[in-house]
Symmetry: C2
């Protein structure tokens, strides 16, 4: 394989998120601390008007050191793929400089997300190499404010676990739902909800 492109972030974050990621030097050991950090990302994303009500981050599983953050930047980057989980994983890959976040010699990594993965993000997690996924809101909570989550396999948790990725759900779920409600109350756009309408 020939040498590749320089490690640039494929999905550009707004300046506030880049600053926040750089300043966060204290590891977050407790799972709830990590989740509240991620939910705060989602909230700031809507108050700063830089995207949708979703946040995610990749941490070292054991130490809680922050590796990369992600927020939903579908609208500002003009890219339907730019869900919070995808952005966090893409940024983690560029920082780790490997296409497998679980490659030998890499500390085990955890993806923490303010919402259960959609159909795409479920697949993205499968390929990423993270060893753990922790989610707050359910997909049905996103659907409740109008987002389309689309069908995942019924056994999606098992599909992840079969590949060595543990799944924890419903951590701080109510706090993530509160961010969804705020997005809805402030008239946030429900993009990608055309559902095939012309």
């Amino acid at each position: 394989m020939k040498s590749g492109s320089p490690s640039t972030s494929p999905f550009r974050l707004p300046p506030w998120a880049i600053r926040l990621a750089h300043r966060q030097r204290k590891p977050m050991v407790a799972a709830s601390d990590r989740m509240r950090f991620v939910i705060q990302l989602a909230l700031t994303n809507i108050t700063a008007q830089t995207g949708g009500p979703f946040g995610a981050a990749v941490f070292e599983s054991q130490t809680g050191r922050l590796i990369a953050v992600g927020i939903n930047v579908v609208e500002p980057t003009n890219c339907s793929l730019a869900h919070a989980e995808v952005v966090a994983l893409a940024n983690a890959h560029q920082i780790i400089r490997h296409f497998d976040l679980g490659a030998p010699g890499t500390p085990k990594l955890t993806l923490v997300a303010s919402c259960e993965p959609c159909a795409m993000c479920y697949g993205a997690i499968l390929w990423s190499g993270v060893r753990n996924v922790v989610c707050a809101a359910r997909g049905s909570d996103a659907t409740a404010i109008g987002f389309d989550e689309a069908p995942k396999p019924k056994n999606w948790v098992t599909a992840l676990e079969d590949r060595g990725i543990s799944v924890t759900r419903d951590l701080c779920r109510d706090e993530a739902i509160a961010v969804f409600r705020r997005y809805q109350e402030t008239g946030g756009r429900i993009y990608n909800a055309r559902k095939g309408l012309k």
Copy 2:
């Protein structure tokens, strides 16, 4: 929503693919011509040693004008997300400058891919706004040379069709399989096949 990032390609293509996309000015009306173009992308990607044996492109559905190309650049970009379909869709978004490739006023677009979508790409297609998907090889053909395609919903074709995206399968399937075999014979790396092994 505040103004976003400049339209840069989130997944960098190798120079040969950029040149090829720029030079392809003649529209491809026949579905088989489009597919052979995409299979050639997959083949060139392995002979140039710039990634895996998968190609994709976005065309204007009616005219056959090429909008964007994608190849699998997981290894050279250090990014597990960089499947051919994802790269083609991301590049199309940057060219169309909209997060919905099916937005009002946009000509209907077709994604042509040398292989059926994996679990992640199925979801990416759902959100992209393309109106048609045309695939060559089956997922089982990729699995046969060692790739992990992971479970998609059993009704994935229906899930796409329910959102106004038509699905055509098996076009030039044997030609796409021949590229997979060549990749296998030349010792191409089967990345992301750790399947949870430590």
